[in-house]
Amino acid sequence: MPGKRMGAWAFGVLMLLAFLIGPIWAWYSYKSVDERPDGYHADSAWLSGPLSSAHASLKNDCQSCHVEPFVAVTDKACVGCHTGEHKMMSMAHANAPTAMLLAARHPPGVGERILDGFAKTFNKPQGRCVECHTEHEGAGPMPATPQKFCADCHDGMSARHTSFCVTGSHAVSHWPAPSSFGGAISGFFATLIARS
């Protein structure tokens, strides 16, 4: 019967071919190709889950999002397609830049600070689109972004907004259009802030 050493070499080489060399070769071959031909591509061995139904057409084009190896998926890759909606996207996030979105979250606990440390070391910037709009989570609709209720993000504000945030006048100044809808919302926010 085959010896242990031969078995060890055979299996080791097989694993490396199927799960390292094959996928890297597939990546290299299709690096500058817009759409890959049908059939099996070795880097599907690296799939952690199928793409959501909205992105299903990108199945054969890993490089549309994973542009550079060893570089985390950038916002530039998302905005490359989601162009005309950029203004809509900003409004969905209250026209806030990334830094403000990050600051709006609750203060990180110990575990979260450790994870942030790792992310910084391995060059994985915070506040990218994909952090909330996660992919490869199943072949249905994209899962809802976590923290979709206002107060889930805008949390712990009584500790952070100490001196200036109690009346409706402050809330009004944030909103672009002082319509009756804006007024109603700002009034609601004021109550929320005052109560937290």
């Binding site: 060890a8 055979a10 799960f19 390292l20 998926v73």
Partner: protein
């Protein structure tokens, strides 16, 4: 990974339980001494079978020709040797009445002793086999696991 763990569990269990059985089976003999005993019975059988008829010596000669280490892996690990020539010779001679009764009785007695010695050796080989077989699964799969782990670590950072 699960295969590595399961085969390792088997290894731990047999390492904890089988050495006692191995020691009990030995009755203070080494493997070489067990083999020597079988060879000694073979020599005695060779001379004791001289007076028998041709029909009776044939199975005895077949038993003498048999290699005690023969038999595939199934026989080695189960301890069951259905094609054992010594057992076949014992069966044939017990039923035969061709040769001289006394000579046949002596040969039958020697065959029984050889069978007991063979049984001890085969049990010894069986336990040693059970103690070693898991490594043929565990070691190659562990190397495969290490290779897969390295590929996983690299791939996670590759397609961040």
């Amino acid at each position: 990974m699960m295969l590595v763990i399961l085969s390792g569990l088997y290894g731990v269990i047999v390492y904890a339980t089988l050495p006692q059985a191995l020691s009990n089976n030995r009755e203070q003999m080494t493997q070489m001494q067990m083999l020597e005993a079988i060879r000694a019975f073979d020599r005695q059988l060779h001379s004791a079978a001289q007076p028998l008829t041709a029909a009776d010596t044939a199975p005895v000669l077949a038993a003498l020709d048999e290699d005690p280490f023969a038999g595939g892996i199934g026989a080695r690990l189960s301890g069951r040797y259905p094609d054992c020539a010594t057992a076949a010779a014992l069966r044939t001679l017990s039923l035969s009445n061709g040769s001289d009764g006394g000579a046949r009785e002596k040969v039958v007695g020697l065959l029984k002793q050889k069978q007991a010695a063979l049984r001890r050796l085969r049990q010894h080989l069986r336990i040693r086999g059970l103690l070693e077989i898991w490594l043929y699964v565990h070691v190659p799969l562990t190397f495969a696991l290490i290779a897969a782990l390295s590929a996983h670590i690299i791939s996670v950072f590759f397609y961040w």
